[in-house]
């Protein structure tokens, strides 16, 4: 989707509720910044974008953008532009960067609702599995089928263990 004010791709999507009807805006980052600086954040999308704008102004941004999740390869820059994370491990890897954003949206940092009934695998175990899958894919890509099948067996074994009896 193109930005409604220039030719660049729209990355910020705003629903403005100021009149009897909802106004939709699809803007690129630059036009979005300009737009957001003109008013207070009103919706979820604008709140999120506003948060990014604050980050934009800080000097640490360049360094921050370079940071990459070692599991899925998502950079913080990618997240800022899409609003979507790449894998569960991003929450651990970008913990410090995500915290102000999470506080801004939810005014909280801790989950107090439902938890899975059976024991959850530790995050490390989950990360381990995702990493093994990535390795398996890489092995297949370089046609190292021996490594790939060994990894597949390990993954299957781990997954079997986690199935409830």
């Amino acid at each position: 989707m193109k930005c409604q004010r220039c030719e660049k791709p729209a990355t910020i999507h705003v629903t403005e509720i100021t009149g009897p009807e909802l106004d939709e805006l699809h803007l690129c980052e630059d036009c979005g910044k300009l737009y957001l600086s003109q008013g207070e954040p009103t919706t979820e999308a604008t709140a999120l974008a506003h948060q990014f704008k604050l980050a934009e102004d800080s000097e640490e941004l360049a360094a921050l953008d370079q940071q990459v999740c070692d599991i899925c390869g998502t950079s913080f820059y990618e997240f800022r532009h899409s609003g979507r994370l790449g894998c569960p491990h991003d929450y651990v890897c970008f913990e410090a960067e995500l915290e102000p954003l999470i506080v801004n949206v939810h005014a909280a940092t801790e989950h107090v609702g439902k938890r899975p009934k059976r024991g959850v695998n530790s995050s490390e175990q989950q990360v381990h599995l995702v990493r093994m899958r990535q390795d398996m894919k890489a092995a297949i890509d370089r046609e190292d089928y021996e490594t790939a099948s060994a990894l597949r067996d390990q993954i299957q074994k781990l997954e079997q263990q986690r199935k409830p009896s």
Binding site: T15, I102, A108, H111
Partner: protein, 358 residues
């Protein structure tokens, strides 16, 4: 599952039953869940998407409580059929338009739908007409429990259920109530109501969710926050504002009747007149006029017309529904003609025999 058969039945969320159903249309709860051992959708390869789709499909098949669902593979589905499912709110527009392996499992009476590979790997959504949030949560929670017996969801000790977008992290829950608020729109008070809701961290959306316009004066109100409060707290927060919004809308209706009865009656009658006699009509104009007529019937300004008929017309006159019911694809111009004929048939029939409105 035959979509043609679905087309003829009324969507659960538009059945319009329950107390105060003239204003409160339906409620819905959705949970966002992701499989622990795959990346989020954005970083999924085709292999990942296929594996997630297969795993969840097998889970549904293995689970006795989910065995009567209709399973629809969206990747293979023609565009018009995907559009049809969006119009019925069984999938989101994003889900319909994206690429790769994805599917939806639908309860035969459309009480819930399970979206696979939408923004998150799994989205469980339960819909009920009227305002029964507690029952809706119990159903949602039960489905989540059942799926969780088979699958490890991405879960963080401190942050709860992990989601592709941090705005959903924690409970992953969005609880929403759909209202019909024509009088607040007409008296230009709606904006003020929205502003006060936003201050309470509640979001307002149109009929078709995020970014959609408020077609037919239908509005969905939902929680913005998903972290740091229990599911029941979040439900309560939305439930608490419902009586207030009903009261605002009722007062606006009373005001219109008392101050402006003639204008209101004229507006409603003209809307009805156009719907009964137009030869070609767009979807937007139809929604707009049906909204006036719906209010008119509720206020006793139009007789011999049933609310369920109007509710059904809201959805049956949408582009994909019209084509499904007609059994053929139509371009915009022909759709507008078909829509006008459809409206004429059903509005005239309703006065004569309410039993035949399908």
């Amino acid at each position: 599952m035959k979509l043609e058969e679905l087309a003829r039945q009324s969507s659960e969320w538009l059945r319009g039953s329950g107390p105060e159903s003239d204003i409160v249309i339906s409620c819905r709860i959705r949970l966002a869940r992701n499989l622990a051992n795959h990346p989020f959708i954005r970083k999924c390869s085709d292999t990942d998407l296929n594996a997630i789709e297969r795993t969840l499909h097998e889970t549904f098949q293995a689970e006795p409580k989910l065995q009567d669902v209709g399973y629809i593979n969206l990747k293979l589905l023609p565009e018009i059929d995907r559009q049809f499912l969006v119009e019925r709110q069984l999938i989101s527009r994003e889900h319909a338009d994206s690429n790769g392996a994805r599917a939806v499992a639908i309860h035969p009476e459309e009480k819930f739908s399970l979206m696979i590979n939408e923004e998150d790997h799994l989205r469980i959504q339960v819909m009920n007409s009227g305002l029964d949030l507690n029952a809706t949560w119990e159903q949602t929670n039960a489905i989540d429990d059942v799926v969780e017996q088979h699958i490890s969801f991405a879960f963080h000790d401190r942050l709860g259920y992990l989601t592709a977008c941090p705005t959903n992290v924690g409970t992953g829950m969005r609880v929403s109530v759909m209202f019909h608020l024509p009088a607040l729109v007409l008296t230009q008070q709606i904006e003020r109501v929205f502003r006060s809701l936003q201050k309470m961290n509640l979001a307002v959306r149109g009929l078709y969710g995020e970014g959609s316009r408020a077609m037919g004066d239908f509005y969905q109100i939902s929680n913005q926050i998903t972290l740091g409060r229990s599911e029941l707290d979040l439900i309560q927060q939305v439930a608490d504002v419902v009586p207030q919004i009903i009261d605002y809308e009722r007062r606006a209706r009373t005001f219109l009747i008392n101050e402006n009865q003639q204008d209101l009656h004229d507006r409603v009658s003209r809307a009805y007149g156009i719907l009964c006699s137009a030869q070609t009509i767009s979807s937007e104009e139809t929604m707009d006029l049906l909204s006036s007529v719906r209010m008119g019937v509720n206020l006793g300004l139009i007789e011999n017309l049933q609310i369920p008929t109007i509710n059904k017309l809201f959805i049956h006159t949408q582009p994909a529904h019209l084509q499904k019911l007609r059994g053929t694809e139509l371009d915009t111009a022909n759709r507008n003609i078909e829509r006008a004929h459809y409206l004429q048939r059903h509005l005239q029939q309703d006065g004569a025999d309410p039993a035949e409105n399908n």
